[in-house]
């Protein structure tokens, strides 16, 4: 069977290929000199043209530190309990005054799904998810962050989504 091509009846008077072509060419030529939107990533980063990442961004974790330079964590065990991907390893310890503190606190960032439940559940506001996205490492073991490393992180922490203020005002 012969292949038929559907031809659309166009208003002949309204069709002008020459004009359309010239118009297109002038349009593309104008674009040659317009402002370029490319963000040249490693040099410009997110300061470029207001492309900041959201303050609600949930990135790799950060442990808050008190004025004595110790982790705020009291090893209550809520965060490993709530963590849906089971990526927090916590072994609690207790000092002479009976204060609990984490002997071991490790987060496997590869297992983490960055839901932010740990930050939400923490009674001491110790563990946070951070506004941070550059996490490359040379080995997989580098992605298990221990307590020391979590305390050393300095990036801003996420403000999470607040149901009472859904638009973040």
């Amino acid at each position: 069977m012969a292949i038929t091509v559907k031809t659309v009846r166009r208003p002949v008077d309204d069709t002008s290929y020459v004009r359309a072509t010239l118009k297109g060419l002038s349009l593309t030529f104008k674009h040659l000199f317009q402002k370029k939107w490319t963000m040249q990533y490693p040099e410009e980063k997110d300061a470029h043209q207001g492309w900041q990442i959201s303050p609600r961004w949930r990135g790799t974790h950060r442990m808050a530190v008190d004025e004595n330079g110790k982790a705020k964590c009291v090893a209550c065990g809520l965060c490993p309990q709530v963590c849906p991907s089971n990526c927090i390893k916590l072994i609690p310890g207790e000092d002479e005054q009976g204060n609990r503190y984490p002997l071991v606190f490790e987060i496997d960032e590869f297992r983490c799904i960055f839901c932010g439940y740990c930050q939400e559940v923490c009674p001491e506001e110790a563990i946070h998810v951070g506004v941070h996205y550059e996490n490359s490492e040379y080995s997989r073991s580098g992605f298990v962050y221990d307590l020391e490393r979590l305390m050393k992180q300095s990036h801003p922490v996420s403000t999470l989504w607040d149901p009472a203020d859904p638009k973040g005002q």
């Binding site: 091509v5 208003p11 309204d14 593309t28 040659l32 490319t38």
Partner: protein
């Protein structure tokens, strides 16, 4: 100074081959970058700018990558032809550039050296002949890949290139009628002598040639042979590494040759406009460099046009492509040849000497043809347009209704009067 001869000719030719080949390859490499950057600019991006200053080393990186990539050979392919096809596309593409004079002759202690590799007496016929050999490479690439998309690409390339070759050849017949010569050096010299580039007396031929050059080089809006959206990558679907690169180089080389040919035939070649000092002996190196720059600025403009058009126009459908080739370009070219031949004959009878007047008379004829051509081609609306005419049509319909009503009323009154 005499033209170079004997052993010196052999040495000079060898040097020219090396120099021009190198120049062409570097230009092609750089033009792949220009293409990508201009594309980026048109889309408000920056394009590749990371490798070297302004991204200038990007082509080197690409080339190196292609050398190290795996050469794939599909088990279902026709082995011999599959290996042969890239070469058959590559060689004619580079060969055609050999006869294009790029500047005024270079004076050397051994005699005058022309800036083309070979000043062939058959002139642009050589280019037409060799460039049409390129289609074998593409068609065979499609055939030997034993892949339906590649085969379709190859078939399309064959059909398209054969169709547009006719319009291309016929547009050059008009030029032949006017110049009476086919060697490129003579054509350039005539344009210089008559103080007019052939784009003026042969504008329609220029336009036809330009459009068919786009089709011949398989560039958008005629890039159906590789139509990514329909045919994966068309005829070079199954190719990788340097074999793929060779198709790419062939495409860009064809583009350079087509641009250089348009420059030579219609824009005075290496002629510098509005001056005469560059056209005559004594030849000096200064003249060579100046005319070289003139030639390449014209050629690079056309190469830019290729890129510019590519990122502006969408691809034709295959039947539209064939319609344009056979139903528009071919008849127009045929009629045009007749008209130009007639005008040239009439001018000869009227004893008008070849010079500015002669050229401008022909130019006026061309203007008329061009207007007619665009009128019909553009559906009876030259640069009218999409916007205004609808309102005008509504207005005209209303006016016609009013006139008809008045006419009816007049008839009625006449009937009552009786």
């Amino acid at each position: 100074m005499n033209a170079i001869s004997g052993d010196a000719f052999l040495v000079a030719s060898s040097i020219k081959v090396l120099v021009i080949f190198t120049m062409l390859m570097v230009l092609i490499a750089l033009w792949t970058l220009v293409e990508r950057r201009v594309c980026g600019f048109i889309q408000n991006r920056l394009g590749p700018n990371r490798v070297g200053p302004l991204g200038l080393l990007q082509p080197a990186a690409d080339g190196l990558k292609n050398f190290f990539k795996e050469e794939t050979l599909p088990p279902f392919a026709d082995r011999g032809l599959f290996m042969l096809a890239p070469m058959m596309a590559f060689v004619p593409a580079l060969l055609t550039f050999a006869i294009i004079p790029m500047a005024a002759p270079v004076p050397t202690p051994w005699g005058l050296v022309g800036t083309e590799i070979a000043d062939l007496p058959v002139g642009f016929l050589f280019i037409l002949a060799v460039s049409s050999l390129g289609v074998y490479g593409i068609a065979l690439a499609g055939w030997s890949s034993n892949n339906k998309y590649a085969l379709l690409g190859g078939l399309r390339a064959a059909a398209q290139m054969i169709s547009y070759e006719i319009a291309m050849g016929l547009s050059l017949v008009a030029l032949l009628v006017l110049s009476g010569n086919i060697t490129l050096n003579a054509i350039v010299a005539q344009q210089q002598a008559s103080h007019t580039w052939y784009i003026v007396p042969l504008f329609v031929a220029f336009f036809l040639f330009l459009v068919s050059a786009f089709a011949e080089t398989n560039r958008l809006p005629f890039d159906l042979p590789e139509a990514e959206a329909e045919l994966v990558a068309g005829y070079h679907t199954e190719y990788s590494a340097m074999k793929f690169s060779m198709f790419y180089i062939a495409e860009y080389s064809n583009m350079v040759t087509a641009s250089a040919l348009i420059t030579t035939l219609f824009l005075g070649g290496w002629d510098i406009p509005f001056t005469q000092w560059d056209n005559a002996a004594p030849w000096t190196l200064g003249k060579t460099f100046a005319t070289f720059a003139a030639f390449w600025s014209k050629t690079l403009f056309f190469m830019f046009l290729y890129v510019w058009v590519r990122w502006t126009l969408p691809r034709f459908r295959f039947d539209q492509l064939m319609d344009l080739g056979w139903k528009v370009m071919l008849p127009v070219a045929l009629v045009y040849v007749m008209v130009i031949a007639t005008v040239v004959a009439v001018l000869e009878v009227a004893a008008v000497r070849i010079g500015p007047l002669y050229m401008w008379i022909l130019g006026a004829v061309n203007l008329v043809i061009a207007v007619l051509f665009f009128w019909v081609f553009d559906r009876r609306r030259l640069i009218g347009g999409a916007g205004g005419s609808r309102a005008r049509r509504v207005w005209r319909a209303e006016a016609e209704r009013t006139i008809a009503a008045e006419h009816d009323a007049a008839l009625e009154r006449a009937a009552q009067g009786d």
